[in-house]
């Protein structure tokens, strides 16, 4: 039961942290919670579908379909997080003023909401499909003790959601003047970490050279299966034994998104927010 709880916890934790951080980051975006909830539900449905078609996905592209699928999902998530962060850095100030009418006036506010939907949907889909498969395996086996294991699964899920909620509640306590900086950095690191994970899958598929594998090994110091390692894995993309190319992807994503944020924050002469896209 304990092993089951740990496995489910690990999968749920990643999605829960992503949702927790986004929920906090978009606290002043109208209806953001509703879009996050819709994304979660869609993601769960998608997770079921992906789990059901695991064998089909896996057999695509001569046996490396799963890696390609994961890399594409992660790649889309990185682009969406980048867009979100750049959007937040140009509208963060207006949102910080807590004027909901301002937020409603922002012309691309609805696009931001659909971005939220996609990011949460993808995060839940990716992490959820493995959980669904794992729990299905337990339910289908006739080894007995299913009740104990399903209890473990529920425990792990609730624990993961609790950590996600904790980071959300914690972020809301951050004073407003640092709030957008803090959530911006968190989202930036999430995105860079996902870019590194995408590279990891492409190396596993033998589509990318590893450029030194592993580049370092800190598994004795900070193992990835311990709680700090697990948290850091999601939050900053920590990998105990990364391939060199993962670092290249990580730094490239980091630099590209930072540049975009700087660009979005550049001083403007425009006064009326509706003209900002010009």
């Amino acid at each position: 039961m304990f092993a089951t709880a740990i496995i489910v916890f690990r999968e749920v934790l990643e999605a829960a942290l992503i949702i927790g951080i986004l929920a906090a980051a978009t606290r002043n975006v109208p209806n953001s919670k509703r879009w996050l909830a819709a994304g979660t539900l869609l993601g769960l449905a998608g997770a079921g579908a992906v789990a059901a078609f695991t064998d089909v996905i896996g057999s695509l592209a001569s046996g490396i379909g799963q890696e390609i699928f994961n890399a594409i999902v992660l790649g889309i998530a990185v682009l969406m997080l980048a867009w979100h962060n750049i959007w937040m850095s140009s509208h963060g100030a207006a949102l910080a003023a807590n004027a909901k009418s301002v937020a409603r006036d922002i012309s691309d506010g609805s696009r931001e909401c659909s971005i939220l939907l996609v990011i949460t949907g993808l995060a839940v889909l990716r992490e959820g499909s493995e959980t669904v498969l794992f729990l299905y395996g337990i339910a289908a086996s006739d080894s007995g003790g299913q009740t104990a294991m399903l209890t473990g699964g529920m425990t792990g899920m609730l624990a993961g959601i609790a950590v996600g909620y904790t980071i959300y509640a914690g972020l809301l306590r951050v004073p407003m003047r640092w709030f957008f900086e803090a959530t911006g950095i968190l989202v930036l690191l999430l995105a860079a970490g996902m870019a590194s994970q995408a590279a990891h899958f492409l190396v596993q598929a033998d589509l990318l050279p590893s450029l030194a594998a592993p580049l370092w090994d800190t598994s004795a110091l900070l193992p990835e299966n311990g709680l700090p390692g697990m948290l850091l894995h999601t939050l900053i993309g920590y990998d105990a034994r990364p391939a060199g190319i993962q670092i290249v992807f990580y730094l490239t994503a980091l630099a590209a998104i930072l540049t975009g944020m700087k660009w979005a924050r550049r001083p403007r002469k425009l006064i009326h927010p509706a003209a900002e896209d010009a």
């Binding site: 092993a3 496995i7 695991t54 064998d55 896996g58 057999s59 001569s62 046996g63 490396i64 799963q66 890696e67 493995e130 498969l133 794992f134 299905y136 395996g137 289908a140 086996s141 990891h200 190396v203 596993q204 598929a205 033998d206 050279p209 450029l211 594998a213 592993p214 598994s219 193992p223 990835e224 299966n225 990998d239 105990a240 034994r241 990364p242 391939a243 190319i245 290249v248």
Partner: protein, 105 residues
């Protein structure tokens, strides 16, 4: 950076060299054979055939590999080139029984 670019241009050439193929079975939540000996310094193509009805996740922290294999299906995992040594792997969904090791020499 320039050197890194050069290396990345050259490496796909190395990847063209033929990979060695190995097959691993999963049956009753165990790996067969539980030990695979492979040459070091070479890329390996590991075909994992899951003969169980339930899915399994091939996972190895040392190799930095993880892959879900659906019930009654097969998947390919690319590994290496490896330095000589022992590289344990396990089935994450049935860790108690599904244990194995790749020995590179």
């Amino acid at each position: 950076m320039k050197r890194l670019l050069l290396i990345s241009l050259l490496l796909p050439l190395a990847a063209l060299a033929a990979e060695d193929n190995y097959t691993l079975l999963i049956k009753d939540h165990r790996f067969q054979p539980p030990e695979i000996t492979v040459p070091s310094g070479k890329k390996i193509k590991l075909k994992v055939e899951n003969r169980d009805a339930t899915p399994e996740e091939f996972e190895s922290r040392v190799l930095n590999r993880e892959k879900v294999i659906a019930g009654n299906s097969a998947a390919t995992i690319h590994i290496g080139p490896l330095a000589p040594g022992r590289y344990p792997f396990y089935g994450e969904f049935n860790e108690a029984t599904a244990q194995g090791v790749i020995i590179a020499q």
